[in-house]
């Protein structure tokens, strides 16, 4: 039956729920008469997939769609190699279904070139309630509250925060901290507009200082271990909290707890209004045959269909990117996220995450990561110094990108 068209999809989703969801997509397409070839290349947070994409382009073996995030969508657009799905977007009326910030990201030169799948919230704090009870503390409501609670936990001999030293994990924490410290506008100025003053500002310095505070309450032995391990520690009560995106829910249920119940999901104190989001999206590439173009259209159409959005996002722990999809059967934290999303959208507090490639191109993100990593691993660097470095490295990276 698969003869109406075909699409070759390059992605790095290979495990568990993600892979199953891709399977669902493949099946839905097949039922419609389209063949989807799943070309998975996991590893390195998408680094391998990005490499494969480049070599496939070099060898003239361009995929129909590839998993590409954030500003990289625009970057690829500049190469003139991308395909066009205006037809689908118009017929499904994507303008209405997607938040404007998000919609903008999927377009280039006024054309739709990419399809979004989901929305993750980054600035979550996951807390083991029973551990807090042990030290007689409440869910922290403010930064100071948080620090006080951390100190208490520390004294009680419980690891306050489970956090690996992986740079992307630290950056995720930093994402939440910056959102909590400077608010959405500051976050946007710094990480999306890359405003030099914002980057070098005192607020940024303060954020760095807070990062160091968090580090002090992090188990050093966690360095290098995966975030799953940290989540497990929280569930088991060996650690009290973790700052992590809402994909942590999967691991929480995996360890026999229910997100929202034993493990509370709260926004990073101070960032309750802000929604730092991570969107996974697929960009189309120019393909020569009609069958392949038809495949691209079907892929985009199906991905945005309510049914797929529900099934996919429920499994993945995110919320649908398409608005107006019922959240029936989604867990408490998802419901909470949806509310936060709605609120942030209207309050213009919806910002793309820096830590997950949604906010800036690779070179700039890399520069930010480098500064964060250096700061995090060397206590002799002062927060203000780090902020200054951040501004400087970001500037250099921007120049490089436009060399």
């Amino acid at each position: 039956a698969a003869d109406k068209g075909e699409i070759d999809v390059l992605n790095w989703w290979t495990s568990g729920s993600e892979a199953k969801s891709m399977g669902v997509l493949q099946k839905m397409l097949a039922d419609d008469g389209y063949k989807m070839v799943n070309d998975a290349a996991s590893g390195g947070g998408g680094a391998n997939a990005r490499t494969v994409l480049k070599s496939r382009i070099q060898s003239n073996n361009v995929p129909g769609a590839a998993q590409i995030k954030g500003p990289q969508i625009q970057q690829w657009c500049d190469t003139g190699l991308v395909g066009n799905i205006d037809q689908v977007a118009q017929s499904q009326n994507w303008d209405k279904l997607l938040a404007p910030t998000i919609a903008k990201g999927m377009q280039c030169d006024g054309h739709w070139v990419a399809v979004p799948f989901n929305i993750h919230r980054i600035n979550w704090l996951w807390i083991n309630r029973s551990v807090l009870e042990k030290v007689d503390a409440d869910i922290p409501a403010s930064w100071d509250d948080l620090v006080a609670t951390l100190a208490k936990l520390d004294k009680a001999g419980i690891t306050p925060i489970a956090g690996g030293g992986n740079t992307w994990q630290v950056a995720t924490e930093f994402d939440a901290i910056v959102a909590a410290t400077g608010g959405a506008d500051f976050y946007r100025k710094a990480f999306i507009e890359l405003d030099q003053d914002a980057l070098a500002s005192d607020t940024m310095a303060k954020s760095f200082a807070r990062l160091r505070t968090i580090k002090q309450y992090t188990d050093p032995n966690g360095t290098g271990l995966s975030w799953n391990h940290d989540t497990g520690m929280v569930v088991k009560g060996e650690a009290a909290m973790q700052i992590m995106g809402d994909w942590a829910k999967g691991e929480i249920s995996n360890n026999g707890a229910t997100p929202g119940k034993e493990i509370a999901c709260v926004a990073m104190p101070g960032s309750e209004d802000t929604f730092v989001y991570n969107i996974d999206s697929f960009e189309m590439f120019q393909v020569d045959s009609e069958a392949k173009q038809a495949g691209q259209r079907a892929f985009a159409r199906t991905a945005m269909s309510p049914e797929f959005q529900r099934r996919f996002n429920k499994a993945k722990g995110s919320i649908p990117v398409r608005e107006g999809v019922s959240l029936d059967g989604f867990d408490a934290c998802a419901q909470k996220a949806q509310k936060a999303y709605d609120k942030a959208k209207s309050g213009k507090a919806l910002v793309a995450t820096m830590s997950q490639d949604n906010a800036e191109v690779g070179a700039v993100k890399g520069a930010i990561f480098d500064v964060i990593a250096r700061f995090y691993n060397s206590d002799s660097i002062k927060p203000a110094e780090a902020a200054k470095q951040l501004a400087q490295r970001v500037k250099q990276a921007e120049q490089m990108a436009q060399l």
Binding site: R50, T167, A373, R374
Partner: protein, 313 residues
Amino acid sequence: MAANNPADANDSRTTAPSAWRAMLDVALPKLSLIPTGVASLLFVYGFVAWTIWLSMTKSTLLPTNSFAGLAQYRVLFSLDTWWVSVINLAIFGLLYVLICLAIGLFLAILLDQKIRAEGWLRTIYLYPLALSLVVTGVVWKWLLNPGLGLQHFIRSLGFSGFTFDWLITPDMAIYAVVIAAVWQASGFVMALFLAGLRSIDDSIIKAAQLDGASLPRVYWSIIIPSLRPVFFSAVILLVSLAIKSFDLVIALTDGGPGYSTWLPAIFMYNIGFDRGQIGLGAASATLMMAAVALAMLPMLIAELRERRHDKQG
């Protein structure tokens, strides 16, 4: 006996001097090297040239031909990550090569003493090479993690003061990488040496024993010097492995803590492909290649020259 030979079988060859066969004798060895030569010219030197060219362009996501002069190099030199990678390579490379050689040779010599279970031991020493680093990296990560692995284990035996936390200490993490890397490659170096040992004439060893040399001395003065070509192979191999060490570091530390265990290969992959700065990645590759070639050149020349000299004899 000879008289019974069919005279015709070879007479035709003697009488008809096959000049072409003589030429073939001279040409055949060279002809046989052509495939290798062409492949190497194209797939190594051609690509190297291309890389050098890329390093002088503004290439970002994809290679382009927009000339940028030495701008990429200037940026490269300003990056802390680059210098960390380079210094790491120096530390890691040196330790890795030396320790692998030492362990490999040592084990090979011990295994060469008519050991009963030689076959099994050899396989045990070799097997790390067979396992995908994607996974063994995880195991080493656990083992070297103070909270989970050896430190934890030894402390739980009652030695509470025992500390082994290299992996999570930015300044020491590269040494932890060395441990796992040595674990992986030393077995192969052992095999290389063992093969070399097996090619040495027994009677020479006997003669040395008669000369009063102890077994260690026999190895030191006679056998190991005869293994010089093997050393050469092993060093080249290990240096090449060190330069290409990628999977292991990614799996073990993912370059961390921070970027404290980055190596040039990681730098290049990360910068060139993940971050989309191919020009910069190419510049780093070019520099590293040049540096390694320069570092290896004396050894290369010495070895090749020495061999030619021996051959005269």
